[in-house]
């Protein structure tokens, strides 16, 4: 059980430390770069209205559907599946509660004044399975689509791996398949450690930067009255 002790003790701790350092390093490294004010006269002074792009861009325009339906659908499916498993599985909620208890002495729920119920394990299992299936589909698509194959690099494949690994190991741990529960749980936690360590350095960072890119393009374009 040393593996489990490591995975949820020092392993988890140091991977969170690396995660925090890496994410801030990358974000601050971008934010502190030079930025020039735009002196042109805005067509629409209420550029903040462009912030709607954060939400709007999540849904493709009708004109762009067609060649992207597969991407859009599978993208949605695996993201939703992953997020449901992450945020609605009871042990995860308790994990977050424990982490927050350890960090700030109380649960985040108390601080932010909201909490949400967990979903039944079977449902989480279903969402995870669907997410895994969609991830496998997008990997196959990445391998056979000439466009994706051309533009892909190590980051794309490795980020895929660290995303699917916690889902698969989580499902194994839930169903106790292949090894004793503690071993499976250790593997699950180790896969999460790996995800956290890789997160800041690869494309998974889009989880944060996507809000910035959508805001920036939204406000810049809104200022010009250009299409969004």
């Amino acid at each position: 059980m040393e593996l489990l002790e490591f995975a949820r003790g020092p392993g988890m701790f140091w991977s969170v430390v690396i995660f925090v350092i890496g994410v801030l390093w990358r974000l601050v490294g971008i934010v502190l770069l030079r930025s020039k004010a735009d002196l042109s006269e805005p067509r629409n002074p209420a550029a903040w209205r462009g912030l709607r792009n954060i939400v709007m861009r999540s849904w493709p325009r009708r004109e762009f559907l067609g060649g992207t339906v597969f991407n859009e659908t599978m993208g949605y499916v695996f993201h939703v599946g992953f997020l449901v498993a992450l945020f609605f599985f009871l042990p995860h909620l308790l994990f977050f509660r424990d982490v927050s208890q350890g960090l700030i002495g109380t649960s985040f729920g108390q601080v932010f004044g909201f909490s949400w119920p967990a979903l039944p394990g079977g449902m989480i299992y279903f969402f995870s399975a669907v997410s895994v299936a969609a991830l496998i589909a997008v990997l196959i698509h990445r391998l056979i689509s000439p466009v994706k194959r051309l533009i892909s690099n190590f980051d794309d494949y490795f980020s895929w791996f660290v995303t699917i690994a916690p889902l698969v190991t989580g499902m194994l741990a839930y169903s106790h398949v292949g090894a004793p529960y503690q071993t499976l749980l250790a593997l699950h936690l180790l896969s999460v450690n790996l995800l956290l360590v890789w997160f800041p350095f690869g494309k998974l960072m889009h989880s944060f930067t996507i809000f910035a890119t959508r805001s920036v393009q939204g406000m810049q374009f809104e200022r010009k009255g250009a299409s969004l």
């Binding site: 390093w25 990358r26 601050v28 490294g29 971008i30 934010v31 502190l32 770069l33 030079r34 930025s35 020039k36 735009d38 002196l39 042109s40 006269e41 067509r43 629409n44 792009n53 861009r57 999540s58 493709p60 325009r61 004109e63 762009f64 067609g66 060649g67 992207t68 991407n71 993208g75 689509s145 000439p146 466009v147 994706k148 194959r149 051309l150 533009i151 892909s152 690099n153 980051d155 794309d156 350095f201 494309k203 960072m205 889009h206 930067t209 996507i210 910035a212 890119t213 959508r214 920036v216 393009q217 939204g218 810049q220 010009k224 009255g225 250009a226 299409s227 969004l228």
Partner: protein, 450 residues
């Protein structure tokens, strides 16, 4: 770098500016070692790099969806035309030289140094196969403004002397003579005088003071002089105090298109200074796409402070005149479809104005699909139409445009960009198509209700 490359003699008597015997090739300007070329490319690429560009560079998830937005990819299905792929060496350079982890990338050599061979290979992708139309920027689920990054990449390519030859030569000539097509101030003055006589219309040039300064693109001056006449007629109709200025008339900006930011500034400053000199309240830009973006959205930033006058596209000006009830037009009993010039509509924000004018003309407007912000590019923008070796590719994309227009069943295709118009004329000749692109400006001038 000012001498024109003798290997590629220019063909000046053709309708379109080009070099003789175009062939697939990599163009280089100037003499310098490869290493210096690469260094210059990188230096100038990151020179005016900032927070926004860096954010975009950091955020791509390689989903490949931008390919579906690009007319070059859609019509060829060649993956190298995937918009974000066109930036690959620049992404590589950014990560190695400038990004937050640049130090680590260099230390461990995780991102390799960009080579001159790579840059040569990418010359086609950065110039021939990108019209900077920005359709991909709207498709991108992360919202990366890919088009703006291509413009940045061109800065590096230009300083490294890796620009397609015609585009380089056109830009160089524009910088030297004041016009890419030989419309020097003298030629311009002569033309205006001759057109004024011919059409019996007053075309004021170099008035000391005027409320409104108008500009023209060389394409119009040399190929569509009707635009000059149309502008004059409309200004007279509206009773505007206006003028052309021979010290600032050229609206095209090949400094911008080729990637020379110093030239871009020179070209824009001529117009700005001319407008300031005559005390104009309004500077009206002609039917030219990139000219609008260059001055409307970049002008003040080059000037260093807000411009002391208003910058308008002629279609905006016409739409305001329609709304104000000043512009009286005869009704045109025809159906029309409007081709949206990328830099004016999608990226410029002048979306409804041309439609307001068309409505005033009484035409039955049959929109294409897609239209407005997501309309397909004509395929000739961003300097592409000057690059002769890209003709084959451009004609492929043009078929998309023809199909779109045919499907509307409209009698008159109309646009408000002379560069689009030039691309349409060329495509029309190539495909022996029966549709001729019309200028919104000229349609208005031809239907003034005097």
């Amino acid at each position: 770098m000012s001498n024109v490359n003798e290997q590629h003699p220019l063909e000046t008597d053709q309708p379109r500016f080009s070099v003789k015997k175009p062939e697939v090739r990599f163009d280089r300007q100037g003499e310098m070692p490869d290493e210096q070329r690469v260094r210059k490319a990188m230096q100038n690429f990151v020179k005016d790099f900032g927070r926004v560009a860096a954010l975009y560079m950091e955020s791509c998830i390689h989903c490949g969806m931008c390919a579906e937005a690009c007319h070059f990819y859609v019509t060829t299905e060649d993956p190298k035309y995937t918009p974000i792929w066109k930036l690959e060496p620049f992404k590589q350079a950014y990560k190695r030289e400038y990004g937050p982890f640049a130090f680590v990338y260099r230390l461990l050599n995780l991102k390799h140094r960009v080579t001159v061979e790579q840059l040569q290979e990418w010359q086609e992708l950065i110039y021939d196969s990108c019209t900077v139309c920005g359709r991909c920027s709207l498709m991108c689920p992360v919202s990366i403004d890919i088009a703006s990054l291509v413009s940045q990449a061109r800065h590096g390519m230009f300083q490294a002397g890796l620009v397609p030859h015609e585009l380089w030569a056109v830009a160089e000539r524009a910088e030297r003579e004041g016009s890419p097509l030989g419309a020097t101030p003298k030629v311009f003055r002569d033309r205006c005088e001759w057109l004024a006589d011919d059409h019996e219309v007053d075309i004021p040039v170099d008035k000391e003071k005027a409320d409104v300064l108008c500009a023209m693109s060389s394409i119009e001056i040399m190929k569509f002089p009707g635009s000059i006449v149309a502008t004059a007629k409309i200004m007279k109709h509206l009773g505007v105090d206006w003028t052309f200025r021979s010290d600032g008339y050229e609206a095209t900006n090949f400094g911008l298109l080729s990637g020379n930011s110093a030239w871009q500034k020179d070209m824009s400053m001529k117009l700005i200074n001319a407008a300031v000199a005559c005390g104009a309240r309004v500077l009206i830009l002609p039917e030219c796409g990139h000219a609008y973006g260059a001055l409307r959205w970049m002008g003040a930033n080059l000037y260093g402070k807000p411009l002391p006058f208003r910058v308008m596209h002629i279609a905006e000006f016409l739409a305001e005149a329609v709304k104000g009830g000043h512009l009286k037009l005869k009704k045109l009993d025809k159906s029309a479809t409007f081709h949206d010039p990328c830099q004016i509509v999608r990226r410029g924000g002048v979306i409804e104005a041309p439609r307001v004018v068309l409505e005033a003309l009484g035409v039955e407007l049959r929109e294409m699909f897609p239209a407005k912000g997501t309309n397909w590019c004509c395929g000739g923008g961003g300097g592409v139409v000057t690059i002769h070796r890209a003709d084959g590719l451009r004609y492929k994309t043009f078929q998309l445009k023809m199909k779109q227009i045919e499907e509307t069943g409209a009698e008159l295709p109309v646009t408000t960009c002379s560069n689009c118009r030039q691309t349409f004329d060329d495509g029309q000749a190539h495909f022996k198509w029966d549709k001729t692109m019309n200028s919104l400006l000229e349609m208005v001038a031809d239907n003034l209700d005097e």
